[in-house]
């Protein structure tokens, strides 16, 4: 017998919520369909749908006038309507729900989650992420071209006029060099719009040249952005001169302020911090390297593309500007094992997953291989307390191993496609990822219960 789960919700929550529920229950009985209705009314949620209810359901109906959290229904065909429809014509509603196609396009769903997250970012985090998102292609292009130049040998680029030299000039001299100015510039852009670009980019260049590194770039970005915002508020010109603001006054004043601050105030202390950090990272003992790897791995898997993951990722990517390449390798490996491990688990331990999850597992192979950690989200959403610890363990192991073997990665993204080019020890790296994948799969099998 087909089964439907329903959530009814209405702002006042005293009448429509229950009438919709009653009508749907009555009609479902007449149609011979099993139904369980959760009502979200004045009394709070009643008859709450359990994990098992959702698992066994063929479709989900949300008849609500208020926002209902859909994350527990990940992977199920959902139909969302207003409460009145459930009261007016429950029969066609139920019939429509049963005819719905399952969302087989798992990759699209992951993209959706990506976009939802992008829309939710606010405040300082949003500004930082804007800068990072503009920066990454520069690092990818630069990193890969640099790595390509090494095909001819590590010092090959030093011979002028040769291809490796040209590649290094393009990748290292130009693309990489733009990394921090772009980061800074677009952080400022996010805060202050176009006028932020000038002080942001200039501040970023100064951060790079004074050795303040990507941390300096982040600071200069925020500094530039808010300087422009305050200048706009403080300086009020008569109407005829307003046009001078964006063309003359803002660029000159803001760049002057940010520039002076970067050179005399921020540059030196940050340079010391970055030097200390870089030294520590490059000379780290194996034990500390492993500990750092564990931390990075846990962070990457904890929220799969969310803020914690991004913090670890940004840290590793930023370090590329300071010529520290081991955290990047650890971070990418740790970002690949969650989807890969889950995919492996759906193949080896089918009885822990629903049919939809097994289908989703097929796409997860591709997502994992492409370093799209979000591929693990649908699995985690369906069973967070068992899946998330499992992927965290797998990622921690893989990142620790990567750090232990001091594997280096010069490109911030690309998954398996950059392994042959940008990794210091490709075969070993693949082995490390494989181990992490297996560990993840085993953990998942251990923790998850059999599905009926």
């Amino acid at each position: 017998m087909k089964k439907i789960v329903v959530v009814t919700a209405c702002p006042t929550g005293i009448a429509h919520t229950y009438m919709a529920a009653e009508n749907l229950q009555k009609t479902a009985k007449e149609l011979g369909v099993e139904v369980k209705v959760e009502t979200q009314g004045s009394m709070g949620a009643q008859n709450v749908l359990t994990e098992q209810d959702i698992r066994e359901a063929d479709a989900v109906i949300i008849a609500a006038a208020t926002k209902v959290d859909k994350s527990r229904f990940a992977g199920k065909p959902i139909i969302e309507v207003g409460v009145e429809e459930a009261i007016k014509d429950p029969k066609s509603l139920i019939e429509k729900a049963l005819k719905l196609e399952k969302p087989t396009n798992y990759v699209e769903k992951v993209q959706e989650i990506h976009q939802e997250r992008a829309a939710q970012r606010t405040g300082a985090y949003k500004h930082l992420m804007t800068g990072v998102s503009y920066m990454i292609p520069f690092v990818v292009a630069g990193g890969i071209l640099i790595a390509l130049s090494f095909f001819w040998g590590y010092k090959a680029f030093q011979v002028e006029g040769t291809l490796p030299w040209a590649l290094m000039k393009i990748g290292g001299g130009s693309a990489f060099a733009l990394m921090i100015p772009i980061l800074s510039g677009f952080i400022a852009f996010s805060i202050a719009d176009r006028p932020g670009l000038v002080p942001g980019m200039v501040g970023g260049m100064l951060a790079a040249s004074t050795g303040a590194g990507f941390l300096g770039g982040i600071i200069s970005g925020f500094l530039a952005g808010y300087t422009v915002v305050y200048l706009k508020k403080l300086i009020k010109l008569p109407k005829n001169f307003e046009g001078l603001m964006p063309i003359l006054i803002l660029p000159v004043l803001s760049t002057l302020i940010v520039g002076l601050l970067m050179i005399y105030v921020i540059g030196s202390p940050l340079k010391n911090i970055m030097t200390a950090l870089t030294n520590w990272l490059t000379r780290m003992s194996s034990t500390n390297a492993v500990i750092l790897g564990v931390i990075l791995g846990l962070m990457m898997a904890f929220d799969m593309g969310g803020p914690v993951n991004k913090a670890a990722y940004t840290f590793a990517t930023g370090l590329l500007a300071s010529n520290v390449f081991t955290p990047m390798a650890a971070v990418m490996a740790a970002g690949m094992t969650p989807p890969l491990g889950l995919a492996l688990a759906t193949v080896l331990f089918k009885n822990r997953f629903t049919d939809e999850e097994i289908e989703a597992g097929k796409a997860a192979w591709v997502l994992g291989a492409s370093f799209i950690t979000e591929g693990a989200i649908p699995f985690a959403a369906a069973d967070p307390f068992r899946v998330i610890p499992s992927i965290m363990v797998g990622s921690a192991v893989t990142a620790a191993l990567s750090m232990l073997f001091r594997i280096e990665l010069r490109a911030p993204h690309g998954g398996i496609f950059v392994i042959p080019i940008a990794v210091s020890n490709p075969l070993l790296y693949i082995g490390v990822i494989a181990i992490g994948t297996v560990v993840t799969a085993l953990m998942v099998a251990l923790l998850k219960k059999r599905v009926a």
């Binding site: 005293i14 009448a15 229950y18 009438m19 009653e22 409460v83």
Partner: protein, 153 residues
Amino acid sequence: MEIKDILDEKMMVFDLKATTKEEVLKELVSILKKNGVIDDEEGFLNIVKKREEEFSTGIGYGIAIPHGKSDLVKKPSVVFGKSKKGVDYNSMDGKPAYIFFLIAVPENSDDLHLKVLAELSRSLMHEEVRKMLEKASTPEDVIKSFTNQARRR
């Protein structure tokens, strides 16, 4: 507590004078005032009207259930009204409404009352209940419409 405990024969009218939706709401709200459930008649009427704008409480089948939740309400109450001629209520099925339940609850109602109100709402979805309400001409008739219904789900 049962539905009959929340239906008060002092708050039942079997021949509503109103002929339009606005008038019906006014008439029902004034009954609340008369029985001391609210002091601010206009305030509560506005709340009910606002809820009405969100979407119509004319659920069809000749029944309407305007309702309002507010601290202007002193205790959870239900006003029952019947109109012989019917009122154009902008209902979901486009037909006039003859039977009205005005539900008033305070902001933080005690669950017991809410539960009963939920029961009432649910019962209205059943044809047997509606049929008995259509024929009801005394408070006992109204109460009987609800108590006869099998409440198994």
